[in-house]
């Protein structure tokens, strides 16, 4: 990690957190680090993987971040920046969902592009369905995204 460009890291963040204007590219599906750059500068993707999967996180989460499996990729899982955010903040997000409020939950709503006036309803619904979003101790972030999608589509 010595002379690794901060802007490659920025590029990672950017792509992971890019605006809807960039959706065409960021919704490429499975494989966070590898697909984002689509063959352009292979080193970058490795750096992304190192920056985001290696350097933090595993010391703080208890709940597992799953690996991406293409065949299971639902719409939310395929949403790169959402996927990344949920994978990186499993425990704090779980706590916010259980309480029906909090910054991590609000960020989830932002990434889901839920209008401000509908967010209270979203929070309530997620809180009420906590046990179907986190059904077991082995739950991964991919499961969580799929479960959130089921909860929201069941409206």
């Amino acid at each position: 990690m010595r002379k690794i460009g901060i802007w490659t890291a920025v590029a990672c963040c950017v792509l992971a957190v890019a605006g809807e204007s960039y959706a065409g590219r960021s919704n490429t599906g499975c494989g966070i680090g590898t697909i984002i750059f689509e063959g352009k500068e292979g080193l970058l993707s490795q750096i992304c993987a190192a920056t985001f999967n290696g350097s933090f996180g595993n010391q703080t989460f208890g709940i597992t971040s799953g690996t991406l499996e293409c065949e299971r990729a639902s719409a939310l899982v395929a949403h790169e920046k959402l996927n990344k955010f949920v994978g990186d903040n499993m425990d704090n997000l779980a706590m916010d969902i259980s309480q029906g409020k909090g910054e991590y939950l609000a960020t989830l709503a932002v990434l889901l592009d839920v209008p401000v006036e509908e967010r209270a309803e979203l929070y309530k619904r997620l809180q009420a369905n906590f046990s179907s979003i986190y059904p077991s101790e082995d739950v991964t972030h991919i499961d969580v995204l799929n479960n959130i999608e089921s909860v929201l589509s069941a409206i």
């Binding site: 990690m1 010595r2 957190v17 605006g19 933090f56 709940i63 259980s98 409020k101 960020t107």
Partner: protein
């Protein structure tokens, strides 16, 4: 890069060469006129830059990190890739010439053009010299513009994770910047961090190398939530966020300079060219006219840089983010003892959260109890006090119970912020005092460059903590008419951390100093001392913070009979911040020296501190020192000024 400038010249020569071989006239004319006009434009720009003496402009020096020092001026950047001219590190003028020349380099594949390598320099020169970019081979840095389009930066915030007592390297705190984007979530903003790159795990080497500048410091960027996990969740540090009032152009300039510094290193010095100092260059680059990097001396304390930034009028809204342990303490303090016990039982796995949730307590009490259990489980897991298998089950169990309880009355983050760090007393202290040793009067001057003593007003600091470096005292004994060095504290660190049902920290201290020890023959002499200790502390609502420590004590000095002595013993004390302006510390300490010079060293005393203003206080001290079975009473009053 220098070779690229060379190759640009070669290309120009090659374009002129065909003249000699009389190739078709059209080609000749086109080539030579293009080259000629480019060359004349370049010369005109250089001439104008020199005429206006742009290389003397403070902003140019900011962009180069150029500082005047004892051995002449130089850039604080140590990476040769940051300079286009051979002597660019020392010559701002040479660097300017090379920069202007490099703008005319042809666009090349695979290699970043100087317009993109140094976009902040380019934009500034473009503005100052009214450069017509259509006459340059590369008119703008497209990748940077794309990046801006994607990030859509809106504002910049200065982040201050407060100190972290378990790690000496972090005791001063740390600073970083975040760039907020069009996204309405702070968690998704970008955290800009400057740090030394090291794999060093052996603490002593780490400190030594850090002092000598043997590490290379780089900027890095991560999502802010990653930094929050690191500082707030794992290190358990409270965080302060200071919004900066930079406008759109200023944020852009900050990022332009940041872009220039990618992959560029500067030698990292713990105390001077550290994380906080290097961030100041970004702010200086953001707002021309700011010279924050000039305000700092050879000793840069992160908190002091915040004060400088505040003085420069940059700070807007201020937000406090409590750490996990602060949240646990806050929740625990809001609950009756029985509910606190329930929360602990849930965290221990001894009480089913569902069963607890089904009981007939007020809803809000139940909510806070389960929240407390969940927060405490997270804390324990981050401190590795709980294995993952146990943690995940209990944590999810608690959250599931919580999800059935609905909405809390009080917002979770409504923890009242403590005193702001930037409003605490300043880091340096000078004290003038007088007192008596028995009936012999003395006058005293003390000087302390850093940082906070137990007895000082703790607002803005961590209560029960002390970090003192190089506190020196000079005494004038009025009867003897003698001026003497009384003591120098090299390091004097104390951490008194109370234990309770949730937290079981170890309190500890380490003091190493030169002090005046009374000798058997009645005289006195400076002796070196190393005095570490550890123990426990508890908090009593009425009495205050009390502690008990086991200590060892080493003295070395030629004046001692055997030149050294080693002892062991203990100390106990009671610390109380009685009001916002009055602190008391009552203590006793007994050390038995049995190796080397044998002796009993007993001391007991009462220190008091009265706050007069933010940076002024009066302290009173009475103590008894007993050596060689002779007790000596000493009293002193001091006027302290922090600056």
């Amino acid at each position: 890069m220098r070779s690229e400038v060379g190759s640009a010249r070669t290309i120009l020569k090659l374009r002129v060469l065909p003249l000699l071989f009389l190739v078709p006239a059209v080609t000749i004319l086109a080539a030579s006129s293009a080259a000629g006009s480019e060359e004349s434009y370049r010369s005109a720009l250089l001439e104008e830059a020199f005429r206006a003496e742009l290389h003397r402009d403070p902003y140019w020096h900011t962009l180069l990190h150029y500082k005047k020092g004892t051995f002449g001026g130089r850039s604080l950047v140590d990476d040769p890739d940051f300079f286009l001219a051979e002597n660019g590190k020392r010559e701002p003028k040479a660097e300017m010439e090379a920069t202007i020349r490099s703008l005319f380099m042809p666009a090349a594949d695979g290699e970043r053009h100087p317009v993109c390598r140094f976009p902040a320099r380019f934009e500034w020169l473009k503005e100052r010299l009214s450069i017509d970019e259509s006459r340059l081979p590369v008119p703008a840095c497209a990748p940077f513009e794309e990046l801006m389009e994607r990030i859509r930066p809106e504002s910049v915030t200065l982040i201050f994770p407060t100190s972290y007592m378990n790690s000496p390297a972090s005791m001063y705190g740390h600073t970083l910047l975040t760039v907020r984007t069009a996204y309405a979530s702070d968690l998704l903003s970008y955290a800009i961090n400057y740090s030394a790159i090291t794999d060093e795990t052996f603490g002593l080497f780490y400190i030594a190398k850090g002092l000598l500048g043997l590490y290379e410091g780089y900027f890095s960027i991560l999502p802010y939530y990653a930094k929050l996990q690191e500082y707030r969740d794992v290190n358990d540090r409270d965080i302060w966020e200071y919004s900066l009032n930079l406008d759109g152009d200023e944020v852009r300039r900050l990022l332009l300079h940041m872009y220039e510094l990618q992959d560029i290193y500067s030698d990292y010095f713990f105390f001077s060219e550290n994380c906080s100092y290097n961030l100041l260059f970004l702010l200086d680059a953001a707002r021309p006219g700011l010279r924050l990097t000039d305000e700092c001396a050879w000793w840069v304390i992160p908190l002091d840089t915040i004060r400088e930034i505040k003085k420069a009028g940059l700070i807007g809204e201020i937000v406090y983010r409590p750490s996990k342990s602060t949240r646990v303490k806050h929740l625990a303090s809001s609950l009756p003892p029985d509910r606190r016990k329930d929360a602990l039982e849930i965290a221990r796995g001894a009480l089913e959260p569902d069963r607890f949730a089904a009981q007939e307590f007020p809803a809000d009490e139940k909510i806070r109890t389960v929240d407390l259990a969940a927060e405490y489980l997270q804390y324990q897991y981050s401190k590795k006090e709980l294995p993952k298998e146990q943690y995940v089950g209990r944590f999810l169990g608690a959250l599931e119970a919580r999800s059935s309880l609905g909405e809390a009355e009080e917002p979770r983050d409504s923890i009242p912020p403590p005193g702001r760090p930037d409003e605490g007393h300043r880091s340096n202290r000078i004290a003038a005092g007088f007192g008596f040793v028995e009936d012999r009067p003395f006058q005293e001057i003390r000087l302390r460059p850093a940082y906070h003593a137990l007895i000082d007003n703790a607002s803005g600091y961590k209560r029960g903590s002390q970090i003192v470096f190089l506190d020196a005292a000079i005494r004038y004994r009025m009867l003897d008419r003698k001026l003497e060095l009384e003591s120098i504290d090299l390091i004097d660190i104390v951490s008194i951390a109370p234990r309770d049902a949730f937290f079981k920290p170890v309190s500890w201290k380490v003091k190493t100093d030169l002090f005046r020890r009374r000798l058997e023959n009645g005289g006195e002499h400076l002796v070196y001392r190393l005095n570490p200790g550890f123990g426990r502390a508890y908090e009593n609502r009425v009495l205050g913070l009390w502690y008990l420590m086991l200590e060892t004590d080493l003295h070395v000095g030629g004046a001692l009979e055997r030149s050294w002595s080693v002892g062991a013993g203990g100390s106990t004390g009671l610390f109380k911040d009685a009001t916002g302006w009055w602190n008391l510390h009552l203590f006793a300490k007994d050390l038995y020296h049995r190796l080397g010079d044998r002796d009993n060293l007993f001391s007991a005393g009462l220190e008091q501190n009265f706050r007069i203003g933010a940076d002024t206080s009066v302290s009173l001290e009475v103590l008894v020192n007993s050596l060689h079975d002779e007790a000596v009473l000493e009293s002193a009053a001091r006027w302290n000024v922090f600056f």
